[in-house]
């Protein structure tokens, strides 16, 4: 086995050994135990209602031949149905769902947002999707809860108990050798009730039990995690806001981002104008004013040399101001974009510090807004690559397919692009999100880096 292989195995072994002692394991056990009431609530309630009703109806004419007659069964089923509807309508299921969410949030760190509050009115409460989804969760919780009980009860409980076998064998089974005692069953994951497939009759046998216990305890956190994971999926899928509410939240979030983005861009623009072109023009005016003075009002020129120098400086100020304004205008809207994305990207690629190869294949032209976003994404990605990647070559691929525009920028640099470090990449991702696009980053340390931005063809 190679060195990395050996290191990998050692790390794996360490994780497995340490797993039963972690806080996460303890929290998951607690979650399973505290979640029990939710799992048994509905079955108990349903059981209570139906059986009670069936018993109440045990006199004639309901009962025939000792079994409940079909009217009794029908009545019980109707009662169960009514109970379900009542639970949803009164908002009881929502409250239980809130409790489940709270439990998951507190113990598992699984934060699921609450669904929007129900609208008022009888009909609205009856058709309250979130309430019904909560009911579905409570019904599905039963099998999940059984799985959790299996994990906690058998693996943890019986496993820990098995560890104690050597101890109490010594304490309680030290009868004189003539007394014959039945063998002691050991609970394993495969026969819970100790039906006797694994039985020990001697003291050394207890060590076998101990070994089984160790195995069970080592496996326990993983089984619990699996059970809890199933529960988490249910909670996330059923107890959160519905797809419409989720979409609304998404839209509100991206709208806020877009508004902030726009405000920040305007501020930057004002700053650039103020610190760049404006002050160059002020200096230019100052130089010309001084030059006028050096030239005098009429007649001979008092200081021609100084005047020449000042006029020359003013000339340079004017040229610099022009260049600044041109750059600024390009930063607001590159004129090349009016001819379409391929032309604009070609200009961008040609002017890039690192040689960039461009391939464009867009059968359907996107809307101008999307083209603008794609252009600025490409510009920012190229700038990032130039600044951080130390690449020798960049390829830009733009393809349009199935209503989606895909912009891929690949470089052969050192990789390690991380949206968390620096706001450039995360800002791009946000901008893509505002039009329901996305950004995928593949940048392992050592490179190469491939960033793909997907945008719909029309915003």
């Amino acid at each position: 086995m190679s060195a990395t292989g050996r290191v990998g195995m050692a790390a794996l072994a360490a994780t497995v050994v340490r797993a039963p002692f972690t806080g996460r394991a303890r929290r998951e056990i607690l979650f399973c135990l505290l979640g029990l009431p939710f799992g048994v609530l509905l079955p108990l309630l349903g059981f209570f209602v139906t059986i009670r009703l069936a018993l109440l109806a045990s006199g004639p004419p309901w009962v025939t031949r000792g079994n409940p007659a079909w009217p009794a069964i029908a009545a019980a089923a109707a009662a169960a149905g009514l109970l379900t509807v009542l639970l949803v309508m009164t908002g009881a299921t929502r409250r239980l769902a809130a409790a489940c969410r709270g439990l998951a949030g507190w113990l598992l760190g699984e934060r699921v947002a609450a669904p929007p509050p129900p609208r008022s009115g009888v009909l609205a409460r009856l058709s309250d999707a979130a309430g019904w989804r909560a009911m579905a969760y409570l019904l599905l919780k039963l099998p999940v809860m059984l799985f959790e009980l299996y994990a906690v009860g058998v693996f943890w409980g019986a496993g820990l108990f098995n560890l104690t076998y050597p101890y109490w064998w010594l304490s309680f089974r030290n009868h004189p050798s003539q007394v014959h005692l039945d063998p002691v069953p050991v609970v394993t994951p495969f026969d819970w009730f100790g039906q006797g497939h694994f039985q020990i009759a001697t003291f050394p046998g207890t060590f076998a039990a101990f070994a089984v216990g160790v195995g069970m305890v080592l496996a326990a956190p993983w089984v619990t995690r699996a059970a809890v994971a199933a529960d988490r999926r249910l909670i996330g899928g059923l107890l959160g806001p519905g797809p419409l509410a989720q979409r609304l939240r998404d839209l509100e979030q991206t709208r806020a981002l877009a508004v902030d983005d726009a405000a920040a861009r305007l501020r930057r623009l004002e700053r650039d104008l103020h610190d760049g072109a404006q002050i160059r023009l002020a200096t230019l005016a100052m130089n010309l004013g001084m030059a006028k003075k050096k030239l005098g009002d009429h007649g001979d020129v008092p200081d021609a040399e100084a005047a020449r120098e000042l006029v020359s400086a003013a000339h340079q100020n004017a040229k610099d101001a022009l260049a600044e304004l041109r750059e600024l205008a390009r930063g607001i809207h590159p004129p090349a974009l009016d001819n379409g994305l391929p032309h604009a990207l070609a200009t961008l690629a040609a002017g890039n510090a690192i040689p960039a190869e461009l391939t464009v294949s867009i059968p359907v032209r996107p809307t101008p807004a999307i083209e603008t976003i794609a252009y600025f994404c490409a510009a920012e990605l190229l700038a990032n690559a130039a600044k951080h990647s130390r690449a020798r070559k960049i390829t830009i691929d733009v393809t349009g397919r199935a209503g989606v525009l895909v912009l891929e920028v690949t470089d052969d640099g050192q990789g390690g692009a991380d949206p968390a470090r620096g706001s450039g990449l995360s800002g791009l991702a946000q901008r893509a999100r505002t039009v329901d696009g996305r950004m995928d980053i593949a940048s392992p340390p050592g490179g190469p880096t491939r960033i793909a931005v997907e945008l719909p063809l029309r915003a």
Partner: protein, 214 residues
């Protein structure tokens, strides 16, 4: 005159230094932020400090705050703040209390060398120099409200220049009138608007501004 300049854009700072030195003043120090300004003012004790309002690190009002600090700690130092845009709040805080030795001008004014240097000298001598943009904003508000209706057109021009902080002589030069005519206009303005008489030009500025703002 000994001057300290504070301006973060090197190009403009160099141009301003040259302009003032050409006029025969001494630029003791040319710094680039508010803290350095206070240090240089303490070290060189200039007659007047010319400061850009927007400077690092926050690029909001460092220069203004340094100027106000200087007015507090070194009352004998005249302060002229430059800005690329007019913010009437800044003007108000600068003129708070006293208008002596205070100026607030747009950077555009440096295009006219004579006017700028005259303003610098006026401020250094204890007078006031308010940019005509600030004044015209205030005048526009008052004119809209009808306060200035009693005045003639000429009197309104004189009022504007008074609000800028010019002396009677300065007004006479600017409007190409005789000194006597200007004095007559000034007296008429004070009478028509009911302004209290004031001995010095900078107190006059305060009186006028107070009237215009109310």
């Amino acid at each position: 005159m000994r001057i300290v300049i504070a301006e973060d854009v090197a190009l403009f700072r160099a141009g301003l230094t040259r302009l003032l030195e050409d006029e025969g003043h001494v630029v003791c120090a040319a710094v680039a932020d508010g803290d350095e300004l206070l240090a240089a003012a303490a070290r060189h004790r200039p007659d007047v400090v010319i400061a850009d309002i927007r400077m690092p690190p926050t690029h909001t009002d460092e220069g203004l705050r340094a100027a106000l600090e200087l007015r507090r700690t070194r009352p004998g130092t005249a302060v002229l703040v430059l800005s690329q845009y007019i913010e009437t709040r800044y003007a108000a805080s600068l003129l708070h209390g006293s208008a002596a030795g205070v100026g607030y001008l747009l950077k555009d004014r440096v295009a006219d060398v004579a006017e700028f240097t005259e303003a610098v000298s006026r401020v250094a001598a204890g007078g006031t120099a308010l940019d005509r943009e600030v004044v015209s904003q205030l005048l526009a508000a008052s004119r809209h409200a009808g306060y200035l209706d009693p005045l003639t057109r000429r009197e309104r021009d004189v009022l504007a220049l008074m609000a800028e902080g010019r002396s009677n002589a300065g007004i006479a030069t600017a409007l190409v009138l005789t000194l006597g005519t200007v004095e007559k206009h000034v007296a008429s303005i004070f009478g028509k608007l009911g302004l209290p008489a004031s001995e010095s030009d900078n107190r006059r500025v305060l009186a006028v501004l107070h009237y215009l703002k109310s």
